[in-house]
Symmetry: C2
Subunit: 326 residues, 2 copies
Amino acid sequence: MEPIDLVLAVDIGGTTTSLGLLDRAGADLGQATLATEGHRPAADLVARIAARADVLRDRLDQPHRLRGVGVGAPNANGRRGTVDNPVNLDWGPRTDLAGLLQDALDLPTAVTNDANAAAMGEWLFGGARGLRDFITITLGTGLGSGIVAEGRLVEGADGLAGELGHTVLEVDGRLCGCGNRGCLEAYVSAPGLCRTVLALLAERGATGPLAAVPPRELTARRVFQAAMEGDPVALAAFDATARWLGRKLAEAVAHTRPEAIFLCGGLAAAGELLRAPAQDWLDRFLFPAYRGRVALRRSELPEAGSALLGAGALIWSRLEGQGGPA
Amino acid sequence: MEPIDLVLAVDIGGTTTSLGLLDRAGADLGQATLATEGHRPAADLVARIAARADVLRDRLDQPHRLRGVGVGAPNANGRRGTVDNPVNLDWGPRTDLAGLLQDALDLPTAVTNDANAAAMGEWLFGGARGLRDFITITLGTGLGSGIVAEGRLVEGADGLAGELGHTVLEVDGRLCGCGNRGCLEAYVSAPGLCRTVLALLAERGATGPLAAVPPRELTARRVFQAAMEGDPVALAAFDATARWLGRKLAEAVAHTRPEAIFLCGGLAAAGELLRAPAQDWLDRFLFPAYRGRVALRRSELPEAGSALLGAGALIWSRLEGQGGPA
């Protein structure tokens, strides 16, 4: 029996780390989760990842070759293979995560942040298959972006390209976690949607079901439910979000001219409520030569497994010489 | 004597077309100009270009090989090699300029627009030598941009990437030639600078030397002179222009994370009056992780010859397999 080629995909989160053995088609041949235990050093997590990978491989009843390791991690720098100042991990200013994993597993290793992993996953396994130029927008607690242009993942001079969440939506606008004001992420993200609800309640007065929720308990899911039930405030919040997103995506198109833009992440699960009006606003703000020619689409990856698929796609593409030099 | 390798560089303008024989270092071994005569068909211009190229070659007293033809033209599409709906040429909706030149000269031919040609010129012969990630901004009657990311000129899905002049500076702002409102180009360009002077005169009242100039006779050069003489209105117009440029360049950095941004074109000749404050505003608006790490620089190409150098750089890079697939 011919051995099959596999990669180890790793998704490191603040509390949980997921592992998966993926074949070239993205099929999952074994999965496991670990507690990240971010208060312990990175080397500790790496040792546990290596041990668990051995267990997964032992369980496989078919001959295989493990070809490489792909990792999605917060604050990861794809160019350097490092994790820099992660918010939820006590790893210090810079950890050579690719180096640690390479030493532990003796395999080619690629590391990137969640947004770039999402782009790679969409490219190899999702709706972006065969495209040369596209963008993925990850809408969750922040707004992440992964840009593929001219058939390459754009990482930029220091591995930090694709920070569309930190372009200016409104000069001197809302305070953003990055320290600047008016960033797109402070408006278009799960917390941004909740802030928009508060702004609308300030403007219209405390009306409707969302006015009964203490602001710190407000969630994007709650706003979505209210919108589904016809609450005008929640619907207006989604309208405003779609308009802002459409406008800024029109600007992104003027940079790299993608064929399509994919929405993924938790907030993208609001589906047509967000996508359809955002597509309309996108077309309205587009440079006329682009109008009607850029499709805003939902990710074709399952949300639950997308992080592992992205990490797997990253290392598959590196092994095959795509996605820019390692 | 070993023959030297040359390319034919062609810069097609509304009234004049320039030709040059360039070696790999960008040295000019013969130059000529033709009347474009845009009311006649493209094939007519192509025939005259081919004839004049023969004259230039005959005049050369050293053995040489002509390797290819590079062309900068208005409304050129680098991906297709076409010129589409040029404003100052009666060529109709789409002319296969690369095809016509290839047939006439039997040489590899590459065509692109002025902004992308400027980027290629800076890359091969100017300040961007050796860079993987940079942007050129051409400030003149419009605001053009050429983006190089991951070592490739970004042309995008249909050859129309890099239209930063048509990103939104101000929602519902000034009417732009493209039909949209609030485009950066309507503010940051030679005509944009003049419109800013008028807006300032509207706000402050008709004060200072520029209030004596009929609006349709106002030029960027005149505003520059007034600024040099200390006119507060002209100085305020440059300040506002620098601020707008810095802000939007900060957003461009968030897309492709260039190492440097080069200013070229007529308005860039205002020099430090524009560049220095724009660098300050750029840093002020940058995502903190980028701050202090993106240099705003003036083009290192001579303004007079930059279009030919760009056209020459384009074909040299194609011959050498750079700048994306032909």
